[in-house]
């Protein structure tokens, strides 16, 4: 055994339990990639509406099905999570909120606001 074997190693990602901040950091990127697909759905909806009532109705009933609603709910949360965490990144870019405590706190703010926005959006969709 050489004397270098005792040096601290960086966390091995497959056995190291990632802190919430790290999980949500990679989720920010994953949500962004996922939203690129959501953008294609938006274009699909607009093309359907531009091509006439028949095809619009096809897309509309797909979106209104339970599976369509589930997918749209997923996109809604991904969208608001990416938005809120993006604002957090802009705040960091200005040089604020880098301390360990404030990073751990702002994770919860981001989660709370994105869940809140998702709930309010779906209340608007189903009640208003």
């Amino acid at each position: 055994m050489s004397s270098t074997d005792n040096r601290p190693t960086s966390p091995h990602v497959q056995v190291y339990r990632l802190p919430l901040t790290a999980v949500l950091s990679i989720a920010f990127r994953a949500a962004g990639a996922f939203l690129a697909l959501g953008l294609l759905l938006l274009i699909w909806l607009l093309v359907a509406a531009a091509s006439g009532p028949d095809y619009y109705q096809v897309v509309h009933s797909m979106a209104a099905s339970w599976f369509g609603q589930l997918v749209l709910f997923g996109f809604t949360f991904a969208l608001y999570y990416h938005l809120c965490n993006g604002v957090r990144h802009l705040y960091w870019d200005m040089g604020y909120g880098f301390e360990k405590e404030s990073v751990a706190k702002s994770v919860w703010v981001v989660l709370a606001v994105s869940v809140g926005l998702t709930v309010v959006t779906w209340l608007v969709a189903y009640i208003v």
Binding site: A33, L39, L83
Partner: protein, 127 residues
């Protein structure tokens, strides 16, 4: 010791000759997308269950058409920059990486033009 010329230092554009423009455009588009995304999210939610006539009437409103086009163009621009960074980070093979970035950028232009055309067709069409 610094081997860079005074001109290159004062321009501050680095080896890629574009300085921080990619980083800056990501931030600029994200600032623009904060109000646009909130508008679109709640706008589409209030249109849930809307029939063809209601939906196209919404798109035909000048403010909605303009905001929709802005949202499409800015989000595809933002999205292709983000996907480019993801590809650069996770695709080590140079030719595959270059091909993926080219594909992402061309697809972003294609789909944003399709989206803008669809909005204009609804907004300006005779319907």
């Amino acid at each position: 010791m610094n081997l860079r010329t005074p001109l290159s230092q004062v321009k501050g554009l680095g080896a890629a000759k574009e300085g921080v423009s990619h980083w800056w455009m990501q931030r600029l588009t994200s600032i623009a997308l904060v109000p646009l995304v909130l508008w679109l999210g709640f706008g589409l939610a209030s249109l849930s269950g809307a029939d063809y006539a209601t939906f196209t009437e919404w798109v035909r409103s000048p403010m909605v058409a303009v905001l929709l086009i802005l949202t499409i163009v800015v989000s595809f621009h933002h999205g292709q920059m983000g996907l480019q960074v993801i590809v650069e980070d996770y695709v080590p093979n140079e030719p595959v990486r270059a091909a993926a970035i080219i594909l992402v950028k061309l697809a972003a232009v294609l789909f944003s033009v399709i989206g803008v055309y669809a909005v204009l067709k609804i907004a300006l069409g005779a319907g």
